[in-house]
């Protein structure tokens, strides 16, 4: 096009004193940014294509590259910032809905960063995790309190299906399709090694991964892709996906060009056909319908597997959660508005939903108020960025958390938020064979295991400081939390006191 | 066990290595009429050229014999094998007993009868001593006449070129390097060498020599200050023949390198080999061949049965910085690719690669060599890739895994 309205977002700075023209940047850029120009005998760049995925920067053996924001400025405007203007140019050119990926990047408050943790001093000893057992094993599922003893003193109790996690962190749903087979394999193997679970997402379960079934949560979403008896039987739990934090109220769309042979077989759809997940489940238009689906899935799995219902954190999340807790579901997963996605309409991603911290706190309080917190476990999702976030989530009331963005980061993702282009240079959010190959599961699975193990160590360290040696005693223990810089309303919703109180 | 080896070049060293793989204690005695620590015969031209120092001409480190427990009798010629007494008689009458004997006597320069040759101070180009003599007589800018445009003659020419010699090479054949090159490649190489200042006079021979002049059959006269005769070599088969062993063009051995005589083995340039690429028996006077024959013989002498197979003619050589690698037989369907500076010829027969010539660009030629030696069927490889350049990619995944050591999982 003769006129390029859009600004190149990034500027590539190449240090000529360091560049040895090895051309690794050129070979590794699926966006074809870098090129060796024989006439100039140097590397040149087409910055318009750059998404700042940092692949070239990371692989450059001489650290010759830097990617920084383009310094070119539109005329300063407090109302119309450059991004908004850029988006207008894009839409004026395309006439389409803006698409983006990964979690909401806007500058909304992050409550995790406004919550501080407690530690023991004098009156009660901190516990040293290097010397004493420190337990993070977690069970998810309905916790039936009933118990009776017969005249011989033998206990009789109701066994309900549960998930047993060696640590309170699971890998959140990411479908095979949105991410590559190698990424899936890495997650599956890491979950197995860690004694936790990964989640198929709505893309079905590749036949090579049935062997990881006991560490797999199989998802049933509105598109029902890849769902059949064998799939339900393969997993340790079934998750009904009602919504996703990144795009509440919106379905999914895997473009046909990504539906290759493997995906077609796994999703049970024709090759090259668009895979469209409708916004609602067409058999769920109310809470009673959900109950029926929960019951159907329980029947289909002989009542042996816990049923998870995953919802996006929306305004009346507490009431919705209460309804779900009464639907027979065993676990509720709540996905906050900062959760990631392979593709979402930008306007939805950036404006719909609420933060997980508030949603989690209000759901936990509501279920306790109603005395039904034991009927379900709560899994919090939607941007758990560190062990501290996990500790805070559990202290607010979560039984466990889902991580996904952090897992992708562990595998190499640099949050360029361009998953929707299918040209992920890190081999994660792509189906292009030459790119998928870049993610060696032997490496990625180990990095995932390292990450979660490290977090587990940190969780134990923090718990030890609080004088807590078992994760159960942290769960819902909001006294361990204090707010900083929060209004009384926010503190009330979070159910915590202000620092200093 | 008492091993005796006659000869002190590649085949002898290979024999020592083969024996020592299996028998670390048996006595080994090396007998050679040359007085030197084992040296590399092909290096003499490099030594003369000044590319190889006095120190580096040796084929193995100075402590080689000591480390391998080898006794040496150097500078004495073995003149006779008394096979019934199982001993070798030296020129001074001393006899050396053996349990197992290796005859690795190599070859000697062939000097055909030529009129007046005896009146000239001619040289051959075969031993350290011969190039030392040449070196001592050399003067800058001398006129040198070399009879023979084969490998030895041209290596000599290259070495002497370093002394600004005005070199003329004469050969009866119609092209240079006939043993390794086809006509086209030979022509290319000839032009290249000529561009360096060497003059070739082909398809003729010397009719008569006078002290500093050769009169050629084509009528030309060539003046020279130094004459080198390099028309070919003949295997040293006398010891075996005299002892009653079977000798044809060279010593005949079985696949274990044993001669027709009990406990007597032979290896190297004095023997006849089986050329797997052309399915014929011939003398393969090549250093790798000599070493490997010696190694096989050594193992057999020490008691472990081992066969020498898959020998093929092959050669790697360079003149004035231009390299040639060739191997196998040139009898078959040809594929030729040529640029100004390079030449490639691949020869196919029976759906296999049986021979090749690479000139100029010789990278990774060994992959072709292995195709010939391993008799790999063309059905197993991507022939277009094979033709474009030697590469492992041309093999199927399974063969590649086998060759490269498997797949990591």
């Amino acid at each position: 096009m003769a006129v390029n309205f859009n600004n190149a977002l990034f500027e590539i700075v190449r240090n000529p004193d360091r560049c040895i023209k090895c051309r690794v940047c050129e070979r590794q850029c699926a966006n074809e940014v870098h090129k060796y120009d024989p006439e100039q005998d140097k590397m040149v760049a087409n910055e318009l294509n750059c998404v700042d995925c940092q692949r070239c920067v990371c692989l450059c053996p001489t650290n010759a590259l830097k990617i920084r924001p383009n310094e070119n400025q539109f005329r300063m405007n407090g109302n119309w910032n450059m991004q908004l203007m850029d988006e207008v140019y894009k839409q004026a050119g395309s006439g389409g809905v803006l698409l983006s990926a990964m979690g909401n990047p806007q500058n909304y408050p992050v409550y995790w960063d406004k919550i501080l943790l407690n530690a023991s001093q004098v009156t009660n000893p901190p516990i040293d995790p290097l010397r004493e057992p420190m337990e993070t094993k977690t069970f998810l599922g309905k916790k039936s309190q009933k118990i009776t003893y017969d005249k011989d003193g033998k206990a009789h109790y109701e066994k309900t299906p549960y998930l047993e996690l060696d640590l309170p962190i699971m890998f959140s749903a990411m479908s095979f399709g949105s991410i590559s087979k190698n990424a899936h394999e890495s997650l599956a193997r890491a979950a197995t090694a860690l004694g936790t679970y990964y989640n198929t997402g709505e893309g079905g379960l590749h036949r090579d991964f049935y062997k990881y079934g006991k560490n797999t949560i199989v998802q049933v979403a509105s598109g029902r892709f890849g769902v059949f008896k064998g799939y339900l039987d393969a997993g340790a739990a079934v998750e009904i996906k009602m919504g996703q934090g990144a795009k509440p109220g919106i379905g999914g769309h895997l473009p046909g060009m990504k539906v290759n042979e493997e995906i077609s077989r796994t999703r049970m759809i024709p090759m090259g056909a668009d895979a469209i997940s409708p916004a609602p489940h067409h058999d769920i238009y109310s809470i009673e319908d959900l109950r029926q689906l929960v019951n159907s899935l329980k029947e289909a799995t002989n009542g042996e597997k816990p049923i998870i219902v995953k919802i996006a954190a929306v305004h009346n999340v507490a009431a919705i959660a209460s309804g779900i807790a009464r639907s027979g579901a065993d676990i509720i997963a709540i996905d906050g508005f900062r959760g990631g996605t392979g593709a979402a309409p930008t306007r939805i991603r950036d404006n719909v939903g609420i933060p997980i911290e508030l949603a989690l706190a209000s759901v936990d309080s509501r279920l306790r108020d109603e005395g039904i917190r034991n009927d379900v476990s709560i899994v919090a999702a939607g941007s758990m960025r560190s062990a501290a976030d996990v500790v805070k989530a559990i202290a607010l009331g979560a039984d466990a958390v889902y991580i996904a963005t952090a897992a992708l980061l562990a595998m190499g993702c640099h949050l360029c938020r361009s998953c929707n282009t299918g040209k992920c240079n890190w081999g994660i959010a792509t189906q292009r064979a030459d790119l998928v190959k870049r993610l060696n599961p032997n490496v990625a699975y180990e990095r995932l295991v390292n990450l979660v193990t490290a977090w587990d160590h940190e969780i134990k360290e923090i718990m030890g400081g609080m004088g807590i040696n078992s994760i159960e005693s942290l769960r819902g223990n909001r006294l361990m939390l204090r707010g900083i810089g929060l209004t009384q309303k926010e503190l009330d919703i979070l159910g915590i006191m202000h620092a200093g109180e | 066990m008492n091993y005796v080896i006659i000869g002190n070049s590649a085949a002898a060293i290979g024999t020592i290595s083969g024996i020592r793989e299996i028998d670390s204690t048996g006595k080994i005695t090396v007998i050679s009429d040359e007085k030197y620590h084992t040296y590399s015969r092909p290096l003499i031209s490099y030594w003369l050229e000044g590319k190889v120092s006095d120190k580096n001409i040796y084929y193995r480190p100075a402590d080689f014999y000591e480390k391998n427990g080898v006794e040496t009798i150097l500078g004495k010629k073995a003149v006779k094998i008394e096979k019934d007494k199982k001993c070798v008689v030296l020129e001074d009458g001393i006899s050396v007993p053996y349990d197992k004997l290796m005859v690795a006597t190599g070859s000697k320069p062939f000097v055909p009868p030529m009129n007046g040759l005896e009146k000239t101070n001619y040289h051959t180009f075969m031993s350290y001593d011969s190039v030392k003599t040449i070196r001592s007589e050399l003067r800058e800018g001398m006129k040198v006449l070399i009879i023979g445009a084969g490998l030895i003659g041209l290596k000599a020419a290259e070495a002497l070129h370093a002394y600004n010699a005005k070199i003329t090479v004469v050969d009866m054949a119609d092209r240079i390097l006939p043993s390794i090159l086809d006509e086209r490649a030979a022509m290319k190489m000839q032009k290249y060498i000529e561009s360096k200042g060497v003059k070739f006079i082909l398809k003729t021979s010397a009719e008569e020599f006078t002290e500093h002049k050769a009169k050629l059959k084509n009528g030309e006269d060539v003046d020279f200050d130094m004459l080198i005769v390099a028309v070919g070599v003949r295997p040293n088969t006398e010891l075996i023949a005299d002892a009653g062993g079977k000798v044809e063009r060279g010593v005949i051995t079985d696949m274990t390198q044993k001669t027709s005589l009990d406990d007597i083995y032979s290896a190297g340039d004095c023997t006849v080999s089986y050329d797997a690429s052309s399915d014929t028996e011939k003398i393969l006077a090549l250093l790798p061949n000599a070493y490997m024959q010696g190694e096989v013989a050594g193992r057999n002498m020490a008691g472990r049965e081992f066969y020498y197979v898959n020998a093929i003619p092959m050669n790697a050589i360079g003149f004035f910085g231009k390299h040639i690698i060739s191997a196998g037989s040139y009898d078959g369907e040809e594929y030729i690719a040529e640029t100004e500076n390079t030449y490639k010829k691949l020869v196919f027969r029976d759906n296999r690669l049986v021979g090749y010539i690479l000139m100029g660009d010789v990278e990774r030629a060994g992959i072709y060599t292995s195709m010939i030696k391993e008799r790999i069927d063309l059905g197993e490889v991507d022939v277009e890739m094979l033709k474009s350049k030697p590469q492992m990619m041309m093999f199927g995944k399974a063969r590649r895994e086998e060759k490269l050591g498997g797949i990591i999982k």
Partner: protein, 144 residues
């Protein structure tokens, strides 16, 4: 014996191994080797690129060792199972190039001699540079 192996499933043909190898064996940093050397650094490993698979190849330190056996100059020898080249002795005849079935003897055109992988035993790099430098663990150094 520990050797370098390549898994073609994971080789990206990024060619970094070649650069790391060449620099390690030039005894210089990458930048100095490629920007401030009189002589072009020569990698002893080479990547073969295909339409679907890629892999790097370097000396297998194989049992047959035809290169050592064929060396006319006695420049190639075996030290603790590793085939090493004494570059002072090599005369550049390329008989080893002729012999190596893997095509792993590298021609150093400027030096008129050969170079070959010695598993970084001579450059004090520790684990071979290609292995250290591979971004996708396609190249490993292990006992088989």
């Amino acid at each position: 014996m520990k050797k370098v192996y390549v898994n073609e499933d994971w080789c990206l043909a990024c060619h970094l191994c070649e650069f790391y190898c060449a620099a390690a064996n030039s005894g210089k940093s990458l930048i100095n080797a490629f920007k401030y050397s009189d002589k072009k650094p020569v990698p002893r490993i080479r990547v073969e690129e295909g339409s679907e698979v890629n892999f790097a190849v370097q000396c297998r330190h194989c049992d047959a060792k035809p290169c050592v056996k064929g060396c006319i100059a006695g420049a190639l020898s075996v030290v603790d199972g590793v085939v090493v080249c004494d570059e002072n002795k090599c005369v550049g005849c390329y008989t080893c190039v002729l012999s190596c079935p893997y095509g792993c003897v590298v021609i150093d055109e400027e030096g008129h001699r050969i170079q070959k992988c010695d598993l970084c035993t001579k450059n004090h790099n520790g684990e071979p540079a290609c292995v250290q430098g591979c971004p996708n663990k396609a190249i490993v150094f292990e006992e088989r």
